[in-house]
């Protein structure tokens, strides 16, 4: 059985249908990122007190960037963008403002 679900697509500016299955995967990934941010993350979580100036050299942080990328581009493309951001977030890079 296929149940279409509506989700707001920022890129196209209107709601679009998404299969029930796709939506579940998307929410699973997004919720895992949120859970990571609330717990382990040095930028948002319990340990953020250790880094008063933030941990990540970019703004928004890698996890937040990935979250927004997935919301905007979907799990596959957004996830790839997030992975590329993680690779860029190394001691050699300059960091700074880098919004999705």
């Amino acid at each position: 059985m296929k149940r279409p679900c509506l989700i707001y697509c920022e890129k196209r500016g209107h709601y679009r249908a998404m299969s029930f299955f796709t939506l579940q995967i998307r929410n699973l990934v997004l919720n895992s990122i949120k859970i990571y941010q609330k717990t382990l993350s040095f930028d948002h979580g319990v340990f953020s007190g250790l880094f008063p100036n933030g941990f990540c050299r970019y703004y928004p942080s890698c996890s937040e960037y990935t979250y927004q990328a997935i919301v905007k581009y979907g799990v596959l493309k957004g996830g790839l963008k997030g992975a590329w951001r993680l690779i860029r977030c190394n001691p050699l890079s300059k960091g700074g403002h880098d919004a999705i």
């Binding site: 250790l50 100036n53 990540c56």
Partner: protein, 240 residues
């Protein structure tokens, strides 16, 4: 396939070093071997941790200037960020870490954890290299007193206490927030407090359920960290 790569590159070498240490250190005590391997790993990672503690130290020395900038440009956040960047650049302090090194270290620590867990049992000897003697049996009674294959309350409490002192040391040196506490700063103080108490409790609770060998590893790491912090922070007071 990924598991195979992980086993060959990370797990197997670490496991062999542990058993090797167990073989050569007199007394045949896996607790001593765990301590030795922990010290070895810490020495290996010393440049990394030194860098992060040092940048923390530099940042704390810079804190008065940062507060001043914050006060000066409190209405113009953009300008404040720019001025702060300039200050960091001038004093050659990098306030930021980055995500990738952290991510790379993660599999390593998972491997260490697994090695200590399996090192406590007399299994997986087939993973030993040919030049490491097979001990046939692992003695998991530490100093003839503590059974490291079972959870140990005393070790868990000690690890928690160590964690408390370590966090306290790390956050203590921040100057008191004198300004009339904006929301941000209150939040930060709360976070620090949370860190100070949540982490040790967390450690004790986890320690209750893990085999004593892992708690011992945790305890030794924390003690070494306290030592390291003491050493690096002390250098500052000598220099000035």
């Amino acid at each position: 396939m990924l598991t195979a790569i992980y086993t060959t590159i990370l797990y197997q070498p670490l496991y062999n070093i542990l058993i090797f240490l167990y073989n050569i250190i007199p007394g045949q005590d896996v607790g001593i071997a765990i301590i030795a391997l922990t010290v070895l790993i810490k020495l290996l990672l010393y440049p990394l941790s030194r860098k992060s503690i040092k940048s923390q130290k530099d940042l704390q020395e810079l804190q008065p200037k940062i507060d001043q900038l914050k006060e000066q440009y409190k209405d113009d956040r953009e300008k404040m960020a720019g001025e702060m960047m300039k200050l960091y650049k001038e004093s050659k302090v990098s306030p930021f870490s980055s995500c990738l090194p952290l991510l790379i270290q993660l599999p390593f620590f998972i491997a260490v954890y697994q090695v200590f867990r399996s090192g406590l049992t007399s299994e997986s000897f087939d993973l030993l290299y040919s030049f490491v003697a097979n001990p046939n049996q692992i003695n998991h009674i530490f100093l003839g007193l503590i059974d490291l294959s079972r959870p140990n309350v005393v070790l868990a409490l000690l690890a928690g206490a160590g964690q408390f002192f370590q966090t306290k040391m790390y956050t203590r040196r921040k100057p008191e927030q004198k300004s009339t506490g904006s929301k941000d700063e209150n939040m930060m103080a709360m976070m620090n407090k949370q860190m100070l108490y949540v982490m040790p409790i967390f450690t004790v609770v986890i320690g209750f359920s893990l085999p004593g060998g892992l708690t011992l590893y945790w305890l030794v790491t924390t003690l070494l960290m306290i030592f390291q912090q003491y050493f690096i922070f002390k250098k500052k007071t000598d220099a000035t």
